[in-house]
Symmetry: C2
Subunit: 489 residues, 2 copies
């Protein structure tokens, strides 16, 4: 059948979607989420798209196309296209199989991930896959198979070195910016550490959001290789250049229900590491109220699964369980966290952040068999070599020689209303305050914490300061704080 293209003048953000008038769909016996094969009349490549149906806006002899298809087919409003009914991806049968509780093999995962990468699935179908991975047990060999499928169907970095280091922290702890300190330490000790980091989804800042203040974090694969070859390290956004790209498409689906299927979580993390070329990985599992692992038991289970999967993947890993019950450092929000990081690298800064970074760097050196690891870490930190390396990476990624950390226009202090001792700082609530203040979009917005657990406070002591470039946002923060203070004393 031939139809005329109508440009619906919208993008989907990935999936290939075409819209038919409901009468045309009925004539063709097509239902929403069915597939169409589309190409320019008599020439060009065929693409397969998911069908949406509208009762208006599209004429019966038209096909509405979203931006992604217009580009792929190189057509515009009025071009004639040929359409045929196409089969759904065969890998849907594997998704159904998993949903029914049966085990999938590497071939089946590979086909699913290939179809994910080619945008073959509708969101509904992707959700069935995530559901299956969440509601059904995931064996160790399935996790390995999924990891390999993700790595092999995305871009990868390649280095000749025998040792490539990496680290990962199972998120949830505000202010926990150890990566930005660890990377220059490790790189200045002569090891390569090409680091991909995430942006905030529900938190106030991700490592990528924080480093973005100092340098661009979205680089091409080619540029990343160049930066790492020059400086031994990079600090880029994990969604960049389709490194293990299938993972990014699945995260979108996991978001509405905040679903973290363990098998998928492990595959997602280790695939990013493998795709970046890592051979030795340190994994930090903070545990405590408000962290991803809320109990020590959960943290230990995760540790066991990581060990088994890594072994089969040929990755050397070391896993540490750390205190995840409260924030680390003073600042929460991109600029405030960047300040903490620079302070530590300059030999000052919040003691807990410095201590954790030193501990982790030491663990990483142990993992690769270095002698006197603690001494080596303290050497590069105290001599300023790590800070020099940090600046080198900033410049190599295209940042300024003297980067400027933005300051917020407005702030207000939250004071203790009586004498007491700080008992707790709630991870989720303090992050929420920073987000209401405008983080991570407003880079300067966030929270600066003046106290620690067990600090004695008097009536009038400043507990924390909220920063924002919008007074309106600070009003929202004030309203929010009436419902409860994230710092209990």
């Amino acid at each position: 059948m031939k139809l005329k293209v109508k440009d619906v003048n919208l993008s989907t953000g990935g999936p290939l979607v075409a819209v038919l008038h409901e009468k045309t769909a009925r004539k063709l016996n097509i239902y929403p989420t069915d597939r169409l094969s589309i190409r320019r009349v008599k020439r060009g490549n065929r693409i397969t798209s998911v069908v949406n149906i509208s009762s208006m806006g599209i004429r019966e002899d038209e096909i509405g196309l979203f931006e992604e298809i217009l580009k792929k087919l190189n057509v515009t409003e009025g071009t004639h296209v040929e359409i045929d009914i196409a089969e759904r991806p065969k890998s849907l049968a594997f998704i159904k199989k998993k949903l029914e509780g049966k085990e999938l093999d590497e071939k089946e995962f590979t086909q699913i991930i290939k179809d994910v990468m080619n945008n073959e699935f509708s969101d509904v179908e992707l959700t069935y896959f995530v559901s299956a991975c969440y509601s059904r047990d995931f064996s160790i060999s399935e996790t390995v198979a999924l990891t390999n499928a993700i790595v092999e169907n995305g871009n990868r970095l390649h280095f000749k070195d025998k040792i490539i280091l990496d680290k990962h922290c199972i998120g949830g702890i505000p202010g926990n910016r150890t990566s930005l300190i660890l990377i220059p330490i490790i790189a200045s000790l002569g090891y390569k550490m090409p680091k991909t980091s995430s942006r905030a989804i529900t938190s106030a800042a991700g490592t990528a959001d924080t480093f973005e203040i100092l340098a661009p974090v979205t680089l091409s694969i080619k540029k990343i290789q160049k930066v790492v070859n020059k400086t031994n390290a990079c600090i880029v956004w994990g969604g960049t250049g389709d490194l293990a790209g299938a993972d990014d498409k699945l995260i979108k689906i996991r978001y509405p229900l905040s679903i973290d299927p363990t098998g998928m979580l492990i595959a997602s993390i280790l695939a990013k590491k493998k795709a970046a070329g890592a051979t030795h990985v340190l994994i930090d599992i903070p545990w405590g109220k408000g962290a991803k692992a809320e109990t020590k038991k959960q943290a230990l289970e995760l540790k066991r699964a990581f060990k088994k999967v890594s072994k089969l993947l040929g990755l050397k890993i070391r896993i540490i369980l750390t205190d995840g019950s409260h924030p680390i450092g003073h600042g929460i929000g991109p600029a405030l966290e960047a300040s903490d990081v620079i302070s530590v690298l300059k030999g000052d800064g919040p003691e807990d952040l410095r201590e954790k970074a030193v501990f982790m760097a030491t663990e990483m050196l142990k993992l690769v068999g270095e002698k006197d690891p603690l001494k080596k870490v303290l050497d590069v930190l105290e001599s300023g070599k790590a800070y020099e390396k940090f600046r080198e990476i900033i410049i190599a990624q295209g940042g300024l020689q003297r980067p400027i950390i933005p300051k917020a226009k407005y702030f207000f202090d939250i004071l203790a209303t009586r004498n007491g001792v700080v008992k707790g700082i709630d991870n989720k609530n303090i992050a929420k305050v920073a987000r209401f203040a405008g983080a991570p979009e407003d880079k300067a917005a966030g929270v600066y914490i003046h106290v620690h657990i067990k600090t004695k406070v008097k009536k009038g002591t400043i507990l924390f300061t909220a920063y924002s470039n919008s007074q309106q946002n600070l009003e929202i923060v004030k309203k929010q704080l009436k419902e409860g203070n994230p710092i209990s004393y």
Copy 2:
């Protein structure tokens, strides 16, 4: 925040969807599938919508609205609206709970179904619900709770009679149009039988598609009540007037993976019956290759679950297991099936269809305690009273006094290529041929089967005839038949 409405000139078919420019979304910290509360500036009702994000077509100070929202808010292009970030429906926590394998209670199901009815969920979220019902065990009390939730959150029919009859067949058998014969038999014997039926989704014709040739099947609740009060029966499309409407919204999600979670299947069927006012229900479970229940064991399991759930719902049911291994009647396709039905009502017609209908009508009379049920059924059928009732229902629903059954312009015969005995008629493949011919959209299209299981055929005997109003479609059928004949001999 205030934004200007942009009419995206498309409908979604249900869900309330708004589109923001990606920069606006970033500024507001909003991700795809997050929720916005929207209302006209300073007046009118608030609605909650799901957010899509586009990198084009929408300006940063605009909000793109699909038809459904424009109507609900009574706004047009250029109107100013106020938006606020809104919470996701609380019932998402219950969906996650079920996905994790925990049991839900009636309150939780009610909240989920209420949110389904109000279009509060995105398709991704609805999919999580269907997945949870499919991958996790569903207890009898959960099935009861879900059924009640669906009935109580949709429209219902109300009758004063103590007995209201209904029947349901667990689909999959082409040509199985017993309902259209049963209904006039039962109604002419003085019982009310308000019947809602489905349209074809993957089959060549549903009861609603077939009866639509004779009379309209989409009536208002008020009109349905009137027709039933006048004639004792009706034959309407089940998606009409939001009778147990949540079910229709879930079917759409089950379609891409052809998923029929048992608990949801039972709830879906019994909710439609309860909403139509039924007190006594006959359930036909055909089993065999190509039927929904492929083995007798599956059919018996389904029977047991139906019995338990019906008892708790206060429904009297009778369940029959029938031969579902091959089609029933001669015709497959709306007009061809309507012809079979009218033949039987006129005292002629395919014997297997007539026999099955008589058997089922007898079983229904047994269910309500009638004496001499078989005699009574044969009486109304042979005297022409059932046919008179059928015409009465057609006219009451707005059909013609003398309805015309459309005939296809083109046809061709499929002949036996050698001598033999018919061994099998494949349900799925023969339905596929009828669909390729154009059924159910082309009402006259389909297949007429000339043989039965065990019929002796010679080289040149006509096995079946394919009908269509499109010669192109018949070419497709011919091509398809080269891959195999649905009739084996």
